[in-house]
């Protein structure tokens, strides 16, 4: 299943939405890209939400994270991020994998929104080819209209969590 889902909420903050999304993926393997909170700050919540033996974390909120299932990359290095995501999927089991971003709009704080939109389309195309379910959680502070429009058009499903 390679569905692309764009998820947001009017009431919850993006990290709460992210946690509710990954809790439903508990038995599956995948990659979580953390943008809003460093891995070290939310490690306990994450390990309660998913099986840490099945999930790889890429931390863009703290450049010092390094561990068995976590690596860090700066949020502005989209080239490195694309390569790291690709490499991370090579080490995971390939049964029904997923990719989740916790607050996609935060990319636009450090990158041009057009570039972020291109990055999203690049990832969506790659993930579809690899049959990876991709879940993009919008940031709670809203999203650049151009980026939102691109994501809504590229997504198979736009959801609002209450």
């Amino acid at each position: 299943m390679s569905m692309i889902r764009l998820v947001g909420s009017k009431k919850m903050n993006s990290f709460a939405v992210f946690l509710s999304v990954i809790k439903k993926l508990k038995k599956r393997s995948g990659v979580c890209v953390l943008l809003s909170k460093p891995y070290s700050a939310v490690e306990k919540k994450l390990t309660q939400a998913v099986d840490p033996k099945k999930v790889f974390f890429i931390d863009t909120a703290n450049n010092l994270s390094q561990g068995d299932n976590v690596v860090s990359l700066p949020i502005e290095d989209l080239t490195g991020l694309s390569l790291a995501i690709d490499q991370a999927f090579q080490v995971l089991p390939r049964e029904n994998p997923f990719l989740v971003f916790d607050a996609f709009s935060l990319f636009t704080l450090h990158n041009d929104p057009k570039t972020v939109a291109k990055f999203a389309l690049f990832l969506i195309k790659t993930m579809r080819a690899r049959s990876v379910e991709t879940i993009i959680v919008r940031g709670s502070e809203g999203m650049n209209p151009e980026l939102q429009s691109v994501l809504e058009q590229a997504a198979d499903k736009v959801e609002t969590v209450s």
Binding site: K53, V71, D77, L83, V91, R94, T115
Partner: protein
């Protein structure tokens, strides 16, 4: 956890390069025959180590990551060609005892090796996202412009004025290197300042190509000055390039094996 298979090639490569460094450093100006033997044989063994480690990395890369697998297989073909070229050079120098003519089979294999290495790098770059395609095209345009300017000024001058085929062949390597340098800059610049295990193999791959490029520039200068002989200090750069390519294969294999155990893949 089992010992990883690539470690065998890494250990041989380290042993061989250490011996080579010892001989080159201690025997300068003393025993040219020993330097020739050790250098020529070491380089063949190092090329075979690079082939072995990269074959294992290619084999371990999942089939659906076909672009990256193409990168590995073209790199392997490149090292096979380097090994054949180095082998022909060693045979001519050590067994047949004839000077290796420029434009020989060795140069044919080395030329093919650069083509394969360039193709490998091309397929790797295709798996990466670049924020600005304009910048990528600009880097490639400038690279090719410098390469063609070099060809026009240097190779053209050699053909028209001196007519030496040998110099043209030697200058071709510098030409390939300029093109590879532009491509490797696209790979290294975004990754250079951030280190994590997922991108380590590609940093090593980039540095291995840089070592080869540095060697070729120095080698071309030494040859045109008539100052090169097997066992020179510059051969250590050539050897270092093979060692880094072996490390590349090992880093990739290690990454996949280490996490395969963790994730029970």
């Amino acid at each position: 956890m089992d010992m990883r298979k690539t470690l065998f090639f890494v250990m041989i490569a380290l042993l061989v390069v250490s011996t080579l460094a010892l001989v080159i450093i201690t025997q300068q100006g003393r025993n040219p025959s020993l330097r020739e033997w050790v250098t020529d044989c070491s380089l063949i063994i190092l090329a075979v180590c690079a082939v072995g480690a990269n074959v294992l990395a290619w084999n371990a890369t999942p089939a659906e990551f076909w672009q990256e697998r193409r990168c590995w297989i073209f790199s392997v073909l490149g090292f096979v060609c380097f090994a054949l070229g180095d082998g022909y050079w060693a045979y001519s120098e050590l067994v047949a005892k004839v000077p290796v003519p420029v434009g020989s089979f060795a140069d044919l294999f080395w030329n093919l090796a650069y083509l394969f290495l360039g193709l490998g790098l091309f397929f790797l770059l295709r798996t990466m996202f670049f924020p600005s395609k304009k910048k990528v095209y600009l880097v490639l345009f400038v690279t090719f412009a410098i390469a063609f300017a070099y060809a026009y000024v240097h190779v053209g001058k050699v053909v028209m004025v001196q007519g030496s085929f040998g110099d043209v062949v030697n200058d071709l390597y510098v030409l390939y290197d300029i093109i590879l340098l532009g491509m490797v800059a696209l790979l290294l610049v975004p990754l250079l300042f951030y280190h994590n295990p997922l991108i380590t193999p590609w940093l090593l791959f980039g540095f291995a190509i840089l070592a080869r490029i540095a060697f070729d520039f120095i080698f071309a200068g030494l040859v045109s000055a008539g100052a090169y002989q097997s066992g020179s200090y510059v051969d250590l750069l050539y050897a270092l390039s093979y060692v880094l390519f072996t490390f590349t294969g090992d880093a990739k294999f290690n990454l996949l094996q280490r996490y395969a155990h963790r994730y029970e893949r």
